[in-house]
Each structure stands twice: as structure tokens, then as C-alpha cells.
Symmetry: C2
Subunit: 168 residues, 2 copies
């Protein structure tokens, strides 16, 4: 029996491919920017942030962490020529609700010692204050030598209203 994800991709992709006309798009983003946002299921960056297909890299991880995204950001700029990064965190983020100790305790309790060992050195990169974390992440990126000349902005997306606003 196929799962939810398998069913969705098989059915959804069949429809998508049937009317697909964008096979000519080039590898480098046509509008030379990257968006870093959260993996949260309630965010659809294409629609919510107005990104045309082929225009921008979209990097997503738990919490829209700049540090976690660093490898991808450097590749986006140094190998594929982007010059702008929008960092978008959001209200109701799961990363506001736990900390390293909670996460590691859960792994140990639910999955055992071997699993606990695998995440022992992992920093889950949680944060207690949304707006402060947007600013702090943007500042961290602006402080990297490899990021010199890149335009950074920081945003908050509200999952309750669908609205995005600039913070920095």
C-alpha cells in the first residue's frame, strides 16, 4: 500500500507534467536571489513570496536557520551567481517550542541509546524569540567575509494571516 506522500507525488506529478512547459529554464536563478525559509508545512514559498519558477533558489530547514543553510547559501552565490538573500522565519514556529535537552531526551526515550548517540553532538538550533532570531541570523550572515557584497533582508511570515512583513 502506498503512503500519503507517494500517492500525492504520483497523482500530483502526473497532472503537473501533463501541462509542463518550462523545460527550457536555465540552472542559475534568473532573478539572482535566494530565499531561506522554514520547512513548516504551512508555508508555500512560491505563492506566498511571489517566486516565479526558475527565478530564485529556495532553501528550507527547521527554523530557517542561516547557519544550517550556510553551505547552500555559499553555493548559491559562488557557483550560481545570486546576490541577494531573503531570510523568512514565521509565527508559530516549532523551533520556539522546545530546546536541545527536550529533543535529545525524546530521542533517547522513544528510540533508545544508539539513536541518542547519533544526535548527541547535534545542535537543534532552536530559539526563544522570533524577531530577535531573524535579526541575529541576518547579522551573522552579514558578518561572514564570504558574504561580502550580498544584499540581505529579514522577514516574518504570519501563518495565521498569510502576510509577510520585513523586519530588517
Amino acid at each position: 500500500m502506498s503512503t500519503n506522500g507517494e500517492q500525492n507525488i504520483v497523482k500530483g506529478n502526473k497532472e503537473y507534467a501533463a501541462s509542463f512547459t518550462q523545460g527550457h529554464l536555465a540552472l542559475p536563478p534568473s532573478q539572482n536571489y535566494a530565499v531561506v525559509t522554514c520547512m513548516d508545512a504551512r508555508i508555500d514559498p512560491t505563492s506566498a513570496f511571489g517566486i516565479p519558477l526558475g527565478a530564485a533558489h529556495v532553501i528550507r530547514n527547521a527554523g530557517a536557520s542561516a547557519r544550517d543553510a550556510f553551505r547552500s547559501i555559499v553555493i548559491s552565490q559562488q557557483l550560481l551567481g545570486t546576490t541577494e538573500v531573503l531570510l523568512v522565519k514565521h509565527t508559530g514556529c516549532g523551533m520556539l517550542t522546545f530546546d536541545n535537552d527536550t529533543a535529545k531526551g525524546l530521542v533517547k526515550k522513544n528510540k533508545g541509546e544508539a539513536a541518542a548517540k547519533e544526535v548527541e553532538d547535534l545542535d537543534f538550533l532552536t530559539f526563544p524569540d522570533l524577531e530577535a532570531e531573524v535579526k541575529s541570523d541576518v547579522e551573522w550572515l552579514r558578518g561572514r567575509a564570504v558574504e561580502e557584497g550580498i544584499n540581505f533582508t529579514g522577514w516574518i511570515y504570519e501563518v495565521e494571516t498569510g502576510k509577510a512583513r520585513q523586519v530588517v
Copy 2:
């Protein structure tokens, strides 16, 4: 003067928020799965992989690397209850076109010594064979103790045709 990304998010979000009706969606993904795919500008996971809003976490990084996504995958499962991961890499991926030495050489040449130092220990996680890398990433995830009980599948999305096919 605002940039491409800023113009897109301001204009696109205004339209999106004006007709937004999904403010009731819960934090945990309603269909209990996560998709890991590449940051590539030519991929729109929502449409191409048939993901309803609120249904699945979407994790994206350069190359759809499982190791890079590990923190987010663990959070998705241990904190937010997902039980399935679709790993989707794609044809024409930038990660097939360079290696660590090339990337580090470019950073040094374009941004100088301080920048080179910042990426000196970074593994850019490039790969030479697309299908082999999908299999290898899925195997790596299946081998983690913390991933016991999770359903993994591996896919290739063709940027030329819009079609996705299952590899493993």
C-alpha cells in the same frame, strides 16, 4: 531601490494574503510526511510533487543532501510526528558540476583569504552520479538508529520534462 526578491515578496504576498483562508492549519503536518529536495530554482515542490498546504514538511538544500537535512529530518519525526520521507534529487543539478576543490578555489579567488578560511572545513557535498546518490542517501538514512520505523523512498525529478520517477 528595492531588489528582485523584495519586489516579488511585497507584490506576491499582497495578492496571496488578500485571498488567504488557511490560518487554521495546525503545526504538525496533516499527512505526516516530509519531502527533502534541492534548492534548485526550477523546482516547485507544491505543484510538482502534489503537496497540499499543511500536509508535509519541505526541506531544501543544495543537492537535496540527506546528511545536510539530518537535523530537520529528526525534528520533523521526533517533535512533529512525521513517519515518511520522500528524497527527491533532480536532473541537471549544480552539484554534479563541481567539487570541493573547485568551490574552495573560487571562494579564495573571488572573496579572498578570510572568506577561504570560513569555508575551509565545509564539505560542499557534491556528487558525480545522480541515481547512485539518491540510493546512497536513502540507504544512509535507513541506517540511522533514530530513523527506525520511518518509510523512505527516493525519486528523481526531471527539470526538462516536469516528470518525477521513483528510484528506490
